[in-house]
């Protein structure tokens, strides 16, 4: 969690400071529990193989939660997340670094548009995302 970001401090093309996540298997289990999601590909490696996966997978919605965390943290406590959309392009695995990056693409009034994405430790694009936030102005 960073401090407050203000509209006056943001320019088109600014990079967002990256955020790294690395999910343990226990975290995957806890996320399944918190979302009441019994899908076996997230905790049963043998079953994941039946569906063609070399290991259990990180939940798409967990990566979505991380994308929103990345944007909400960037905007600061008085910023507001107005919208976001993401696509699932490739699988994410536990115990691997997953890096969230982004940049400012547009500023209109007090609304800032961001391109955000998640990469794995090979640099592969896992989830591209766009987001809109409202930032406060310095008083």
């Amino acid at each position: 969690m960073t401090g407050q970001r203000y509209l006056e401090d943001v320019s088109i093309g600014d990079d967002m400071p990256p955020m790294v996540k690395n999910a343990s298997r226990a975290q995957l289990f806890l996320f399944s529990a918190a979302t009441n999601n019994p899908h076996r590909i997230h905790y049963d490696r043998d079953y994941a193989a039946v569906e063609g996966h070399p290991d259990v997978l990180v939940h798409g919605p967990l990566q979505g939660a991380w994308l929103s965390q990345f944007v909400v943290d960037w905007a600061g406590p008085k910023g507001r997340l107005l919208g976001m959309g993401w696509q699932n392009r490739a699988r994410a695995f536990p115990e691997r670094d997953l890096t969230f990056k982004g940049k400012v693409t547009a500023i209109e009034g007090d609304e800032v548009s961001l391109d955000v994405w998640e990469e794995d430790d090979s640099g592969a694009l896992l989830m591209p995302c766009t987001a809109r936030v409202r930032l406060p102005r310095r008083a």
Partner: protein, 152 residues
Amino acid sequence: MIGQPLSEPVTGTITARDARRFALAAGDLNPLYFDEAAARDAGYRTTLVPPVFLAWSLTPPRPLEDVRVDGLYRGEGKRVTLNVKRVMFGGEEWEFLEPVFAGDTITSVTRLKSLEEKAGGSGPFVLQMTETTYTNQDGAVVARAVGRSIAR
């Protein structure tokens, strides 16, 4: 059935405890979800619910008999049942219109937006799009979500 509700509206109260359990499972320690004073400092009346938790906050408890071999719950009501081997989460599009507070009572309605058969690099698949509207106890629409899932 495009445009039709896929099930009865679901209503539930999102407790601070559930919201925090979700935030902690995601490793998200934002004080706005945990600390009343921090939430008030930011101009809110109480702690917030992590925005994307809305999608999971109202899931009704289901019996074990409803769990399929892949672990997913069997469809219910008018939900589309696809005779496929697997379903992957394809992505989501969210609009957040109003803040959601711990203790809010939210009603969600999910409609089928589209169902299309597509040709993919690794064979044909079905792209299903649903739109869910979330409304709070004051009748304000707090969020809309369009979900894509891929079945093959």
